[in-house]
Structures are given as structure tokens and as C-alpha cells.
């Protein structure tokens, strides 16, 4: 067992290198990187100066940076070396805990990411807690009332939630509750006058801003977890050991809660490990819709603005989390279910 998990952990290394080298290569071939942006910026500055002094048009068309300057910039960003060399230079830095400097904000990447983590973590944890505490009871009650009106109605509602992506539901809620009825804010984490509020109204303000995005996050997750719970419980209810338990005179309630339910919680427990990366990285579409400055939005903006150190930094963190989450969920299975043997 231990050997299996050690092997799994070692397999992270080639996968990690594969992922990062692929994205790294892509970023090198894309036009519009930091150097091109600097040239464009310099050109704009010069345009501003020349239009003031009104020199000839040919002067404005000229390359604003000299060859030496461009070479120097390339050296600074590591673009002068072949891909594989600069990749391993980058990897070496990452191993020493240095994710580089953002080409957009000129701040260390780790610092930028660290500022965003609490926001994504806040939504992720809330979603998980509320999700588990609603889905498990809901799934149980749906399994016990299979094919009743209650089951059918909740199924329809859950399927509607499953069908609509969270961010579309988010737009719908914004249009209805924030624009049409004006009950909730249009987005962001806090109001403009947040600092002037008292402690209690600050808390209220955060909750007020949290409700809509939180429901957008929950929309899809709800359905999957509830049905997972319902279907596994029903499977266990129809298995022989529950029949035996009832046959030997156990009450139905006891059979469900003492025998079937315990076994049904196994798949739910395994899904926990996979949720780790969701907790931390969030959904950039929902964050974009609600204008929340979390990890997802940071990643999206850095791709759009070609801020490659940040792109790579987020990739490092999210891919590591994803792989560790996978292993964790296997460990969860092994802990919860003693029958499972990994070899």
C-alpha cells in the first residue's frame, strides 16, 4: 500500500514536467509577449512626444527601441536562449521557490497569487461546506422516497441546475436581483464605503456580496453530489446485506442508517480529494461575471495580457493541487473502505 502511494507520488514528477513544458512552449510561440508590448508602449510614448513637437511622419514610424535594447530585453526575459534551456532555468527557479516576476505588474508572482488565494479559498470552502451539508441529507431523503412526487420535483429542479452552467445562472441572477429589483450588489467583494462601516455592518456587507456568487458556484455542484448520494444509497439498499438485516428483524430506519448509509458515504468521501483544486482555483467565468478578484480571474487576465510568469505560476500551483488531490482521493478510498487494495 505504502509502496503504491510512493510510486504515485513519484509519477507526479514526469507529469508535472510534461504539463509545464507544453504550456511553456506554447507561450514562447505566441506573439504579443512582453517585449512586443514594450516596443508598442515605447512607440506610443514617442508618438505622444512627436505629435507635440510635430516632426515628420517618417520619424514616427521608426522602431522606437534600438537593436541593443531589444537584445537586452530578450536577455532580461530569457528569450535569447533556446526553449529547452530557458525552460530548465525556469524550472530551477521554481524548485528554489521563485516563480519569477510578473511582466505586467512587476511584482513577484507568488505575492500576486498569495493575495488572491484567500478570496478563492473563501468561496471554495463555503461552497464545499454548504454543499456537503445539504446534498447528503437531500440525497438520503430522495433515495428513501424514490419515485414519489417529492423525488420527482426535486429531481427536476436539480436537473435544471445541472443543465445551466453556473456563470449563466450568475448572469441571470445579476440581471434579476441586482439590476431589475436592485436587492443585491452588481459584483465585487465589498461596497465602496466598506472602511467606514462598523464591524457588524462590514460582516453584513460581505455576506450581502457573497450570496449571489455563492449560489452560482453551488448550482452545478449540488446536482452531482446529491445524485451520487442518492444512487449509491439506492444501490446499497437493494443489496443483499440490507435485505438480511431487515429479514432478521431490524427496523427499516436502523437498516438504512446503521448499514446502508455507512457504505454509501464512500463515493462521497472520494469526491473530496478531487474538490481540493476547485476550492483553491475557483471558476474564472463566475469570477469574471461577478467581478471577484480571485485566482480564476487572475489566471484569465494573465493569459489575455500575456503575463506569462503569472500564467506559469498558476499552472504550477493548480496542476500540483490537481495531482495531489487525485492521490488524496485514493487515500480517502483506502481509509474509508478497508476492502480496497492498491497494488
Amino acid at each position: 500500500m505504502t509502496a503504491y502511494f510512493i510510486r504515485r507520488c513519484l509519477l507526479i514528477i514526469p507529469t508535472f514536467i510534461g504539463i509545464t513544458i507544453m504550456v511553456f512552449t506554447i507561450t514562447r510561440f505566441v506573439p504579443g509577449g512582453p517585449i512586443e508590448r514594450m516596443i508598442a508602449q515605447a512607440q506610443q510614448n514617442r508618438m505622444g512626444e512627436t505629435s507635440a513637437t510635430a516632426t515628420s511622419a517618417s520619424d514616427e514610424q521608426r522602431q522606437p527601441l534600438s537593436e541593443d535594447q531589444i537584445l537586452e530585453l530578450k536577455k532580461y526575459y530569457g528569450f535569447d536562449k533556446p526553449i529547452i534551456v530557458s525552460y530548465f532555468l525556469w524550472l530551477g527557479k521554481v524548485l528554489r521557490g521563485d516563480l519569477g516576476v510578473s511582466t505586467r505588474y512587476y511584482d513577484p508572482v507568488w505575492q500576486i497569487i498569495r493575495e488572491r488565494i484567500p478570496i478563492s479559498l473563501y468561496f471554495g470552502l463555503l461552497t464545499m461546506i454548504i454543499g456537503y451539508s445539504v446534498c447528503i441529507p437531500l440525497g438520503i431523503s430522495k433515495a428513501l422516497k424514490h419515485k414519489c412526487t417529492y423525488d420527482n420535483i426535486t429531481s427536476i429542479i436539480l436537473f435544471i441546475g445541472y443543465a445551466i452552467p453556473g456563470w449563466v445562472a450568475g448572469i441571470m441572477m445579476l440581471v434579476l436581483f441586482a439590476s431589475y429589483w436592485d436587492i443585491f450588489p452588481l459584483g465585487g467583494m465589498v461596497s465602496d464605503d466598506f472602511d467606514d462601516l462598523s464591524r457588524i455592518s462590514q460582516l453584513g456587507d460581505i455576506i450581502w456580496h457573497t450570496l449571489l456568487p455563492l449560489s452560482a458556484y453551488m448550482v452545478g455542484l449540488f446536482t452531482v453530489m446529491t445524485f451520487l448520494m442518492k444512487n449509491t444509497l439506492m444501490e446499497n439498499l437493494s443489496s443483499d446485506y440490507v435485505r438480511t438485516a431487515i429479514a432478521k428483524g431490524l427496523s427499516f430506519k436502523q437498516a438504512v442508517f446503521k448499514h446502508a448509509l455507512r457504505n454509501s458515504l464512500i463515493p462521497i468521501a472520494t469526491s473530496f480529494g478531487n474538490n481540493i483544486s476547485i476550492i483553491l482555483t475557483g471558476s474564472f467565468l463566475i469570477e469574471k461575471v461577478f467581478n471577484i478578484d480571485g485566482m480564476g480571474l487572475l489566471g484569465y487576465e494573465s493569459v489575455v495580457d500575456r503575463d506569462y510568469p503569472v500564467v506559469m505560476g498558476i499552472l504550477v500551483i493548480s496542476s500540483l493541487l490537481f495531482m495531489i488531490g487525485n492521490i488524496l482521493s485514493d487515500i480517502c478510498v483506502a481509509i474509508v473502505d478497508p476492502r480496497v487494495q492498491f497494488k
Binding site: 504539463i19 448572469i171 495531482m323
Partner: protein, 348 residues
């Protein structure tokens, strides 16, 4: 074609799940309407009767204004012509315009009014116009047609790649399997939306290019499933029997194993279709999908999000999305339930 009794039983079960069956009918009607969209939503008239002669301009070449006695060489403005005919009704000329007499690309500007404009039955803008004066109903229907065929083609591409790699992985196993497992692990970790955004910002993707890019990342899910199923099927006796009779690997995979995994393949198809629609809409929403002015739901959502006072934009596109995705999901759920041999016992 004769169906095997098991399939007939499954079809009967599918029919008996009413929610899924009716959703299937609604979905088919929607696709049918989208296919014939030109007859319902178009700037060209359906029938024109001019000087005793009949014209059917919907399909085919464009008819210049001179055909109907106009003084211009460009395409006839049928809406204007209709008003003209109405004034001179004694001449016997008449025409039948589609329900929504606008195409998804034309801007219908009204004097003194600035789009977006709310729904108006008088102008036959039943769902209003968007921020540049295009009819929303027209853009919704044509956008639906593009989205549904996009996801159908994407599904075909994903399935072809996924089934061939997945069954090969499951059938041969060993080193081949391990190698592709690693590739899949890498592939599924690369944030595919990032890569699409990066690619889309270099080249403006056309319909087919976008399908290719998305299929490049979309084959993983089905590959994984088919691999597992093939692993199970490979151990069954009929494979051994086929092998003993001297069947080649290719024959065993295509003639014996894949038909037996068909249930799984069919079950996942509706969910893949709704996934395809959602990813195309997300990309269009972000502005990295099909190039404008292609009618698309994502672009309408973006407009609705940016102009929340214009509730009719987001309202109509979200309703359309909910209806489509819901019917697809219900069909998928019914297909899954119909092909699930397990009948749960439950206690009263």
C-alpha cells in the same frame, strides 16, 4: 434493419420515461425549426406575387430590386416592398413575409431611437433588438443552429479519437496503456481554455478550426471511459472464442468489442452535446469563439451582461439556453436510465 430484442426493450423503456421522451420530441422540433430557419426568420420574402408572376426568393440567388420594379441593383428590400404593395393593393401584387422578417446580420435602425430596443410586435422584433440593432430572435435561432451542429460535429470528432485510442489502450494494455495514461494525465492538466484563448488570440478561428482545437482537448473523457469498458469486455469468453477462431485484433475490436460498448457510448452522447454547447457559448462570451458577426448565444450573453437594463437580451438568451440544455439533459438522463439494467428494489 432488424433491431435486436434488447435494443427494442431499451427503446420501449426510453419511451416510457415520459420526461425524457417528451424532451426528445421538443429537441427534435427545435432542431427541425433551426434547419428550416430561413423559412421563419429571414429578410427575404417567402412568396412574392408580382404582375401575375410568382417568386420564391428564400433559397437561391438574390433578386435585385429591378425585378420588382425598383430602381436599384442591390437586393430587394422586401419589407419596404411589402409596404408599397399594401398601399397599392388594387394592382393584385402581394407577398408573404416570414414571421420575423429580419436576418441575423442586418441592423434595423429606427429614426430617433437608439438600440437596444425592447420587444415590439409592431416591428415584428418579438424579442427586441440588440445593442447594434440586430433582431434577437433571428440571432437566437441562427445561433442555436450553429451551436447544435458545432457540438454534434465536436462529438463525432471526440468519439472517433476517443473510441479508437480508448479501445486500443484497453485491448492491448501494458506499456501502450501506461504511455497513453501519462499523456492523458498531462493533457487533462493543461488548462485547455487557456490554450484555446492563446490560440484564438493569434488566429481568428473559423468553425472547423475551432472544432479541431476543441477536439484536440476533448477526446480525453470518452477515451477514459472506453478504456475501462474495453478492459472489462476483453476478459469475456466471446473475445476468447473469437481469438480461438483466428480473428485479428482489429476485427475483434471493431466487430466484437465496440458493438458491446455501444450502450456506454450512447449514454454519454447527450451530455457531450450539452457540454459542447456550453463550451462554445463560454468561448463566445469571452470573445474567443467564432468571429463576429456570427450569431452566437455567448455574444448575446456578453451583451446582456454589459447592458443589464436591457433585460430582454439576457432574458431571451438565458431562456433559450435553459430550454435547450434542459431538454438535452433530460434526454441524456432517460437514455442512461433506459440502458441501465439495474432495477432498484426499494422498501415501503
Amino acid at each position: 434493419m432488424t433491431l435486436n430484442p434488447l435494443t427494442i426493450k431499451k427503446l420501449r423503456r426510453f419511451k416510457s420515461i415520459r420526461r425524457g421522451y417528451y424532451s426528445f420530441i421538443v429537441l427534435m422540433i427545435l432542431i427541425g425549426v433551426a434547419l428550416g430557419a430561413e423559412l421563419l426568420v429571414n429578410h427575404r420574402a417567402l412568396i412574392v406575387c408580382y404582375n401575375g408572376q410568382y417568386y420564391f426568393p428564400t433559397y437561391g440567388r438574390m433578386l435585385p430590386g429591378t425585378v420588382f420594379g425598383g430602381d436599384y441593383e442591390y437586393e430587394t428590400d422586401y419589407r419596404k416592398l411589402a409596404r408599397q404593395f399594401a398601399k397599392t393593393s388594387e394592382s393584385g401584387n402581394w407577398m408573404l413575409l416570414p414571421i420575423v422578417p429580419y436576418n441575423p446580420y442586418e441592423n434595423d435602425f429606427k429614426e430617433g431611437l437608439y438600440p437596444p430596443l425592447p420587444p415590439s410586435f409592431h416591428d415584428r422584433h418579438f424579442l427586441g433588438v440588440d445593442i447594434v440593432g440586430r433582431d434577437i430572435a433571428a440571432r437566437l435561432i441562427y445561433g442555436f443552429r450553429i451551436a447544435i451542429f458545432f457540438s454534434l460535429l465536436l462529438l463525432a470528432a471526440n468519439y472517433i479519437i476517443g473510441i479508437s485510442i480508448g479501445s486500443a489502450m484497453g485491448y492491448w494494455g501494458g506499456k501502450f496503456d501506461l504511455f497513453f495514461q501519462r499523456i492523458i494525465e498531462i493533457w487533462s492538466n493543461v488548462p485547455f481554455l487557456y490554450v484555446i484563448i492563446i490560440i484564438a488570440s493569434i488566429v481568428t478561428p473559423s468553425f472547423l478550426v475551432l472544432i479541431l482545437i476543441m477536439a484536440f482537448f476533448g477526446w480525453i473523457g470518452i477515451t477514459w471511459i472506453i478504456r475501462t469498458v474495453t478492459y472489462k469486455e476483453k476478459e469475456r469468453e466471446y473475445v476468447l472464442a473469437a481469438k480461438a477462431l483466428g480473428a485479428t485484433d482489429v476485427r475483434i475490436i471493431f466487430k466484437h468489442i465496440i458493438p458491446n460498448t455501444l450502450a456506454v457510448i450512447v449514454t454519454f452522447a447527450p451530455f457531450a452535446i450539452s457540454g459542447g454547447i456550453i463550451s462554445l457559448t463560454s468561448l463566445d462570451y469571452l470573445g474567443f469563439g467564432l468571429p463576429p458577426p456570427t450569431p452566437s448565444w455567448g455574444e448575446l450573453l456578453q451583451q446582456g451582461w454589459a447592458n443589464m437594463d436591457a433585460w430582454w437580451i439576457s432574458g431571451s438568451v438565458i431562456t433559450a439556453m435553459v430550454v435547450t440544455l434542459m431538454t438535452v439533459t433530460f434526454v441524456g438522463e432517460a437514455v442512461r436510465e433506459a440502458s441501465d439494467p439495474k432495477q432498484y428494489t426499494f422498501y415501503e
